[in-house]
Assembly symmetry: C2
Homo-oligomer: 219 residues x 2
DNA sequence: CCCGGCCTGGTACCTGGGTACGACGCGCTA
DNA sequence: TAGCGCGTCGTACCCAGGTACCAGGCCGGG
């Protein structure tokens, strides 16, 4: 059986090498390219023609969604798996709409990862079960009243970040956040930036949308 | 019976004169001051000491909420009625929290207006019935499934603005709005600005919140 | 004991978004 | 015919917000 040629796309080199190590441990996988940004990914996809692309959502410049759109348009043979830290965000769903075949969390177990890659490589689609569950909850007819440990779904966030997240969802500006939490605006910006990065969101507007969609605010 | 001394606060001079004409037609009302901004309002409230203040929410500089807060703090004898174009926004509720005694829509009938002023002048509170209804819907235990002409609640907005409003609530940026509606970014900005002004909202973040609160988006 | 995560803060920079104008064409109505 | 509302577009300005990068303090675990 021939090897599955994989490309990694993520702006964090560290994460790429982590994934590379996991993947290279499998003898039917070979990592043929790494890209640190969307533009690079598009170029490499065209030249090295990988079978499977693991695509981060959030990157400087061209983001993972747009890159997915362009790559699938130009070369549908490359199966793309969207990677995200969080299990639900607009970008990610946009990614599926953009032609991605899979959807995985970055904290997935190695066997989940390899299974997903083999699945999409063989033509199937693979979506993280947690995501599937979320999708059903969100787009199904009835969403069960959010249990109050629902905030724990924001597992990627630290305690402080969770607080800030919720406050952003209330519509507070950065100065207002600083006032509420007795922080400098610098610190607030640091928190906000980290929240956006971890959840793969573009700006505070999307934070609000996510919070409402998850039922974390507004009754 | 002595006259009720009224101050008008709104950045639109036209609207002020309109209200003034309505109010002066009542022989127990007299308009003793007009202010075009929050700072002016605070100063005038202290010097002319009106009985009732009709306060617009959205103004350049110090907004109506902050002005309300400061005036009620300094001089609780002045009863403040919040005026808004729309029947529900964060600022308005903030106004009630800030110490306002009434809440009225700018398109209220003259008799509603005069009744509200007499009510607050005599010590009662007066809240527009539409607002009351909204509050009950929003903060009551159960909100009736939004009837699909619910968007019509955005009566102040034109058709185009309504479309843009909903798209903003989806999280679209200005360039994205321009693309979706085949408009220039300039036009988009014009629409967005008008929407914010009409609804008395600060920025697009609050648009999203309002839309979700009203159940206009995201099921 | 040191290391790493977390929270905090700062500086510098740049872009998106919001504001304030003014302008033009269209269609409707007084 | 003269408005007026609406939608469109432009230019110019300013600031909030987001990004990048660095750094110190605290705490808990290896």
């Amino acid at each position: 059986m021939t090897q599955t040629r994989i490309m990694l796309v993520d702006d964090q080199a560290l994460l790429r090498t982590g994934f590379r190590m996991v993947l290279e441990a499998e003898d039917d996988f070979t990592v043929v390219a790494e890209a640190g940004g969307g533009a690079e990914a598009i170029a490499l996809a065209a030249s090295v023609r990988p079978d499977v692309i693991l695509m981060d959502v959030r990157m400087p410049g061209i983001d993972g969604i747009e890159a997915t759109r362009q790559i699938t348009a130009a070369r549908p043979e490359s199966r793309i798996i969207i990677l995200t830290t969080f299990d639900l965000d607009e970008y990610a769903f946009g990614g599926l709409r953009a032609g991605a075949r899979g959807f995985l969390l970055k904290d997935a177990q190695p066997n989940e990862l390899t299974a997903a890659i083999r699945a999409v490589a063989s033509g199937d689609a693979s979506v993280s079960s947690r995501v599937t569950r979320r999708m059903l909850e969100l787009f199904g007819s009835k969403l069960p009243a959010a249990d109050d440990d629902d905030a724990s779904r924001l597992g990627a966030l630290t305690e402080r970040e969770r607080e800030v997240f919720l406050a952003i969802a209330e519509g507070l500006s950065n100065p207002e956040l600083a006032e509420r939490f007795f922080l400098s605006e610098s610190t607030v910006k640091t928190h906000v930036g980290r929240i956006l990065a971890k959840l793969g969101l573009r700006d505070r507007v999307h934070v609000v949308i996510l919070a409402y969609r998850l039922g974390l605010v507004g009754r």
